[in-house]
Amino acid sequence: MTGILILLTYVAIFVVTWVVVTAVVGRALQGFNALKTVTFGDESAVTPNRSASIISVLTLFLIWGAFTGSALLPSFLHAPGPFKGDTQFTYTAEDGDGNRDDAIVFARVAEVGTDVEDPVAEGADEGFAKNDVVVAGAWRSELIRVDRNDEIGRDAGHKVVAINGEPIEPGGRVKIADGEVGMTPKGTLNFIPAKGLQMEPIWLPSPEAVWQRFLNVSTEGYQNFTLLEHLGYSLFRVVLGFLFGALVGIPLGYAMGLSGWFRGWFDPIVEFMRPVPPLALIPLVIIWAGIGESGKIILLFLAALWIMTIAARAGVSGVNITKVHAAYSLGASKWQLMRHVIMPNSLPEIFTGARVAMGVCWGTVVAAELVAAEVGAGMMIMVASRFQLTDIVIMGIILIGIIGFGIDILMRMAEKKLVPWKGRS
């Protein structure tokens, strides 16, 4: 129900901002593209609309904040929250002889974990059924044995037959002003305060709660390690595993690209290992190397190795034969051909492979840490999830995403600097 509402809100914001921004800014085409009359179907005329990107990110935070009751948003933007405060309802009890009497339940609903005084029962209270008081937590429910303080107990035939005048049976539910009252099969009343449309913090904390937790964890740490150590260890494993993978994989790929014996020898191994997801190797690596650093680095080495081997092999195979012929007829030796033609020529392929390998390694290290680790970004969110610390989990996921994105940006910058001729020959 809430999910559909969130989706509808999202679609509505998408459509409304599109219409509004287009109306205000005009058509998003700029420069030469503005002069094109055929744009629908012309891929080169489609450039990302940066206002859309900004609004998109803001929308995510808006919806996140609205459905978590964030203090960052004015309260009129909040989705209806859970009921908090005092309410009351009447129940009708029946004794064994069919006599009926009404009594009032005074309920007070407050946030879980806060100290709340019991509400005070007010007004006249005659007959065999006596008024009750109950304190319930927001988003929770509370069982009420209304017969306990009544003159006749459940064993003497006391049973509740109606709530606010509406008949109720075991297993049934009756809506009241600020929630519902249900009845268990045994006849106990269950007060369920209205939950509203907001998410409970243990499922989804508000953005500022995640930010607070971020500040908190980055100063005090979590599970014996600071936040920097958690992230640093993960990065360290990735960089080391990738470096070893590249150090072995690139020469191996060159050898496979240059020698038939090497290619024949390693083809079955590489082609078999390539489709094996690195995650499938985690159990074996743990059996062999334990959950310490060496196991993780071996795993990442294996994750990077095949990708780098194949990239280097493709780089060698991709060298234009006329370049090789040209180098030889300019007097180059085999080693000079290798050094001055084959190696630089394979750089674009190797960079593409390195970007893929870094991405795979980053994913693999988090997964490996989820399974077993003493420190690391994946371990941090896994342990936090066991304690229902959803804010740490979300913070961790965001940080993992930012670092993964950062790695890719750095690789792209290095690529632009080191292989400017990529895709231009």
Binding site: N320, K323, H325, A326, S329, L330, A332, V341, W421
Partner: protein
């Protein structure tokens, strides 16, 4: 014994289905130092195969290539090569490309610098020497390829359709440049082309090859290359012998093409 001897070359490719293709059959040629020879022929006549054999990229099934008295066994700096395109090194600047040959010989900047700069001047790229290859136009790239080849001071220059990828105007300018370089350096040049006009202008000797098996069909000795040095090539084309020769060669190649078509239709 100097010059380049192509001595009774035959080349046979075996096909996977057990058959074979006779790419060249008993091709013999004798080139003196400073000869400028253009090679024409319909596709499949083996002209590129012949060039690859002379360059040393392929070993002939029969016969041999002799340059300055020794047999050709593989590629070597004494036989420079200019390709149609794609042979320049994108990871080097224009100047580094031109200096590639001398650097591979172990020379340093002080040994090759002057000559490289001179060659960049000759091909008119002095202002572009620090540019990357992908920043140059097609015509400029071919001028780099020419300069790179000359920087090695080869005895023979082999050109495999060097101007084939250029537009008509650039092509005409480059033809002038090739003639100029030929005259100034006195190199032996073999140039393969698809264009009859180019073959006429850039061939002191013009070789027409015939296909299946690849063989020499006819050789011409022409005055146009000599006339074209330092002159307007369009004036050369007005020479009274130019048009008749062109028509003769064109119809010769047309006949060969039609014969091929006929044969394919029969077999199909």
């Amino acid at each position: 014994m100097s010059g380049l001897q192509i001595d009774n070359i035959s080349m046979r490719f075996d096909l996977p289905n057990g058959g074979h293709v006779q790419a060249l059959q008993n091709v013999s040629l004798d080139l003196k130092e400073g000869d400028l020879m253009s090679v024409l022929g319909p596709s499949g006549c083996g002209k590129t195969t012949l060039l690859n054999i002379v360059a040393g990229f392929l070993a002939p099934t029969e016969g041999q290539i002799v340059l300055n008295g020794h047999q050709v066994k593989g590629p070597d700096a004494e036989r420079g090569m200019v390709f149609q395109q794609g042979a320049l090194f994108e990871w080097m600047s224009v100047r580094e490309n031109v200096a590639f040959g001398p650097r591979m010989k172990g020379q340093n900047e002080s040994q090759y610098g002057e000559n490289v700069d001179h060659l960049l001047d000759v091909v008119g790229l002095q202002d572009f020497k620090e540019k990357a290859i992908y920043e140059l136009s097609g015509g400029m790239q071919q001028r780099v390829a020419l300069a790179r080849c000359l920087a090695n001071d080869p005895d023979v220059i082999l050109m495999d359709e060097p101007l084939g990828a250029l537009d008509a105007l650039t092509r005409e300018k480059m033809q002038g440049l090739v003639l100029k370089l030929w005259k100034e350096t006195g190199k032996t040049i073999i140039l393969i082309t698809h264009s009859v006009e180019e073959a006429l202008l850039l061939g002191e000797r013009l070789l027409v090859m015939a296909p299946r098996p690849g063989r020499i069909h006819k050789e011409y000795r022409l005055p146009f290359a000599e006339m074209g040095v330092g002159a307007d090539l369009r004036e050369v084309k007005k020479h009274k012998d130019y048009a008749p020769t062109r028509e003769e060669i064109l119809s010769m190649i047309w006949d060969m093409e039609e014969e091929i078509m006929g044969r394919t239709e029969e077999s199909a």
